[in-house]
Symmetry: C2
Subunit: 176 residues, 2 copies
DNA sequence: CAATTTATGTCAGCACTGTTGACATAAATT
DNA sequence: AATTTATGTCAACAGTGCTGACATAAATTG
């Protein structure tokens, strides 16, 4: 009742559009694209009793084998309590192993097991196929623009992190 | 214990790369890009006690004023119980109003109030700015490729839905 | 008109994944 | 020897999905 102290607010019957100075097309495309992009692995994960959080951990442990817990937290930007829950399940189920850090014995280096590697690839495969299909007709130039765009969408201070992942061409910000 | 019936699984020390036949770069870029893309409105929403689900409802009600509850469910692909929770809050707080359907009086047409319109634009503004910045240096051709790519990432049967949103150029699948 | 279907609302409970706060341990650093 | 750091763990809570069940009013159908 608090919000209707006077007359009820009138409904606005016109749609917001690009005329409002906002890029609604790409906003919506990102939402729909990401939703469907994640739906493929989600289905597979459900069969294992895992969720999207497990996927992320598995993914980055496979992409950066030997990374420490602290490093993983820094990539994912979540709290250690959030990570602990899913990491423990992945370790208990034999998808990831922890190895004591060689220099600093407090650290836990994370590695995939063969089982973990297999699952990671199985989860990535449909996503990669979807990307391939979406790139149909695009050449190297177009692909570069798309990558450049996506990378530029990331917070600037985190872009360096992306460059440290294997097989990613670093610092492609203007031209070749 | 079940997973260690024999020797413990050995850690794999090599990273997965594009050599595994999978497009890890774009997979990761989509994750990071989407995460940061949503972080801007998330901060604003938190001030209102709202979450990302409220944003989505607000967004599509503003983009398609007068759409019914059933239509909104079809766009969002969630259950009515999930929608009910956030929709009720948005209505109670005066961001959205319901109007009885003129033909079918069972239907509830959803419209933004001026307050709802204002919030929607405020949430979209930082996202649009981020997109603008990410498109820096891109011309119309490059932008078209990026939109084409994102649209092609969406499940085919849902692409028509996107075309029905205001101001979206439909069916740009091969050239103009 | 009576029966059925449809559009919407609502209650209850559960799962997943994020959060904060507090506390514990072992190892490194000072 | 004291402090800091890396990690783990317990507990509680929030947001947002889900399923299942049931209720109401309005439209449709036979």
């Amino acid at each position: 009742m608090a919000q209707r102290s006077g007359a009820a607010a009138q409904p606005i019957r016109t749609a917001v559009t690009a005329d409002d100075g906002i890029d609604f097309s790409i906003i919506e495309l990102l939402y729909f694209a990401y939703r469907d992009f994640t739906s493929d692995p989600d289905q597979i994960l459900a069969e294992y009793g895992f969720g999207r959080a497990h996927h992320r951990v598995l993914h980055f442990v496979n992409r950066m084998p030997g990374l420490t817990v602290a490093e993983l937290l820094d990539v994912l930007k979540i709290t250690k309590q959030s990570l602990a829950r899913v990491l423990k399940q992945l370790i208990d189920a034999g998808y990831i192993v922890q190895v004591q850090g060689p220099r600093d014995r407090r650290q836990r280096e994370l590695y995939p097991t063969p089982k973990g590697r297999t699952l990671t690839l199985a989860l990535a495969r449909p996503q990669s196929r979807r990307i391939d299909a979406a790139l149909e007709g695009a050449g190297e130039t177009e692909r570069a623009w798309i990558e450049r765009f996506l990378k530029a969408m990331v917070n600037p201070e985190l872009r360096a992190q992306i460059d440290h992942l294997p097989g990613n061409t670093p610092g492609k910000d203007h031209g070749e």
